[in-house]
């Protein structure tokens, strides 16, 4: 499915700059020197987005899949909601001090799947009640992506409802062409402004870059090991609530929260109070539907006490419920959950397994 906005994008005259790897490094350095910058930094053998002050600290071209997404920069693992102090005169509730993530910033080395995840999250954060913190962080952030040049083992973004090639989720896209040149393309107004501020090379006037960019995509688009027929699968997932496949497919899940915490689109949270004497802070922290206590009610009733029910919620929320509600798929196909899973459960495998059982069910009916 091509998103309608992409068509507009194609019509728009995208400004593309052509440069070489050295020029790209210079561009990065220029951005870091003028903007508050976040980039993938290696910590404990994995890449995580951290604030950087020089290019040597980070690696914007870090390999896929990053084991972490940039979700924490928009939805931190634990954010303070408010503070309160109780005195003899009464209680005073106050907003927390300034949000460290609200300032203007640039994120380098963004993967297209992570950027798409933000587009997906926009729907839930901006429906009905607007999450102002999220919106502020989103508005003040400029995403500079590096397009992948290979498909990692668990990637399946090309199978889903968005377009990796033309995505408008990023502001500036960096594409390392096969001809050794680097193409830097502005994909939004914000991005255009950044490129005008730091022109990374010559402006492409001949239009030859479009061909090279297509070629680069074609060079790895076929290398995806995992692919599925998204339309059929998502149509089948709709009717899969009673599928027995969930029970079998989730039998070796250990009910930790890893998949949800590393997932760039999972957005469930819990609210907890930490109070010492008369002062307290209320936090909003990650939570996950794989957690047994997630839906435990005060009376002791728990609709998702059994593991397969929790997995069903997760899989169906990703591939059916969210789409029904907001029109987009909650999974972006980045494969982070599979990479991080302690027992290597793959959501791709799970969804396909479940969808398969639906085929047999409907066929037998016929």
């Amino acid at each position: 499915m091509i998103l309608s906005c992409n068509e507009n994008l194609n019509e728009m005259n995208l400004i593309t700059y052509i440069t070489d790897p050295a020029g790209l490094q210079k561009f990065y350095e220029a951005v870091i020197s003028t903007h508050a910058t976040f980039a993938p930094v290696e910590t404990f053998g994995k890449f995580d987005y951290k604030p950087v002050t020089s290019l040597s600290e980070c690696d914007p071209g870090s390999p896929v899949p990053l084991t972490r997404s940039m979700k924490p920069l928009f939805f931190p693992k634990s954010a303070k909601i408010m503070k309160y102090v109780t005195t003899s005169e009464g209680t005073a509730v106050s907003d927390t001090v300034d949000d460290p993530l609200a300032g203007k910033r640039v994120i380098l080395g963004v993967k297209h799947c992570d950027a798409r995840a933000l587009q997906v999250l926009d729907h839930v954060y901006k429906w009905d009640y607007l999450d102002t913190d999220y919106e502020k962080r989103r508005e003040n952030t400029l995403l500079v992506s590096v397009r992948c040049d290979e498909a990692a083992r668990h990637c399946f973004c090309t199978s889903l409802d968005w377009d990796v090639e033309h995505t408008d989720a990023v502001d500036v896209a960096v594409i390392k062409g096969l001809d050794g040149k680097v193409y830097i393309q502005a994909r939004s107004e914000k991005g255009t402004l950044l490129l005008e501020q730091h022109p990374p090379g010559e402006d492409d006037t001949s239009g030859s870059s479009a061909e090279e960019i297509r070629k680069q995509y074609a060079s790895f688009a076929g290398s995806f090991r995992l692919s599925m027929d998204y339309k059929t699968v998502s149509a089948k997932m709709k009717n899969s609530f009673d599928s027995p496949a969930f029970e079998e497919a989730s039998s070796n899940c250990i009910s930790c929260n890893t998949c949800a915490f590393v997932c760039p689109t999972c957005h469930c949270f819990k609210i907890s109070d930490e109070k010492i004497r008369d002062e307290g802070v209320r936090y909003k922290s990650y939570d996950s539907c794989n957690n047994v206590y997630f839906t435990l009610m005060a009376g002791g009733h728990n609709p998702r006490l059994v593991k397969y029910r929790r997995w069903r919620q997760r899989a169906m929320h990703k591939f059916s419920y969210y789409k029904e509600r907001f029109g987009v798929n909650l999974c972006v196909g980045c494969g982070k959950c599979t990479v991080s899973c302690p027992v290597n459960i793959s959501i791709f495998e799970m969804v396909n397994q479940v969808a398969d059982t639906i085929v047999t069910a409907s066929q037998s009916c016929e």
Binding site: T43, F44, G45, K46, D48, T67, R68, K77, S78, R153, H154, R225, L226, S251, N252, I254, S255, C256, N257, T258, A260, F261, V262, K270, S272, D273, E274, V281, Y283, S285, Y286, S288, Y293, V306, K307, S340, P342, V343, N344, I345, S346, E349
Partner: protein, 284 residues
């Protein structure tokens, strides 16, 4: 390189056909990469999915604590370290020995992500299963205790350096609790850290929360940890959790009559016994 795939398939098949077990816990290939996933096989027909080789690193005794093995007769594959965990679970009355058919492995060590031998296997004290109904491979016996090089290297550093390292560790923890869920010895129905009624509860995923959770967790496992490294392999942040456990293990080994967890049946954790000659000089 060890490979007991055929033997295990035969054993599991025999157990199913004789009706001795309801579920067999082993490993199978993911089907899409070289990794393996734990497989809970319930039918004779699925037995040919089972594999066992040097990639079979997950400690399967972990599954004995989950609901779908409850009250079932279980066949189980255990390596040396796994069997020590199983021994402790048996000792702590977590599972009935009569329900288990244990296939022990005389392990030659599993490989890590890079293809080399895993660190815990290099330092392994007991590669052979210590509790089993059937043993595969050639037992090589108990080895000498080796001090973990990472721990000794860190102990040599200054307090500040260690503090900085662990600050980084706690900061990077996302408190997904994968470490706890993948640990066979963390079988509590509800972890004390999750007890919302407790005044000691800290629910937020802050750095301080991670310190609180990880330190408490490692101290509750001190004297019981069998160094299977399930926690470390499970950690999505790749935190060096073994440092905490190995430090505890070393202190316990050196001070408490060379105690090692789970080596003998009915030998409980180091904190469940005492000796009159335990060190006392640090107490005023």
């Amino acid at each position: 390189m060890m490979d007991y795939t055929n033997q295990i398939q035969d054993i599991a098949g025999k157990l199913f056909s004789e009706g001795k077990i309801d579920v067999f816990i082993g490993y199978r290939n993911t089907g899409f990469d070289t990794n393996q996933v734990p497989a809970l096989i319930t039918h004779y027909k699925d037995v040919d999915q089972l594999v066992f080789n040097e990639k079979s690193d997950f400690n399967l005794t972990n599954y004995l604590k989950y609901e779908h093995t409850r009250n079932k007769r279980i066949g189980l594959v255990v390596k040396g370290c796994d069997s020590r965990a199983l021994n402790l679970m048996l000792t702590e009355n977590q599972i009935n020995r009569d329900r288990l058919y244990i296939v022990g492995i005389a392990c030659e060590g599993v490989v890590n992500e890079l293809g080399g031998k895993a660190q815990n296997c290099l330092e392994c004290i007991m590669p052979d299963a210590v509790v089993f109904d059937e043993l595969l491979g050639n037992p090589t016996g108990k080895r000498e205790y080796k001090i973990n090089t990472d721990v000794s290297e860190l102990t040599g550093k200054s307090l500040i350096e260690r503090g900085i390292l662990f600050e980084e560790v706690f900061e990077n923890c996302i408190r997904c609790n994968a470490c706890r869920h993948s640990c066979p010895l963390c079988y509590c129905a509800k972890c004390c850290i999750d007890q919302e009624t407790s005044t000691l509860y800290h629910g937020a995923n802050t750095t301080s929360g991670a310190f609180h959770a990880l330190m408490t967790w490692s101290l509750h496992l001190a004297g019981r940890c069998v160094d299977c490294r399930n926690c470390e392999k499970a950690c999505p942040s790749h935190l060096p959790l073994h440092l905490l456990h190995k430090q505890n293990e070393q202190v316990i080994y050196e001070n408490f009559q060379q105690h090692l967890a789970g080596m003998i049946r009915d030998d409980r954790g180091a904190f469940y016994k005492y000796s009159l000659s335990d060190p006392d000089d640090f107490i005023m």
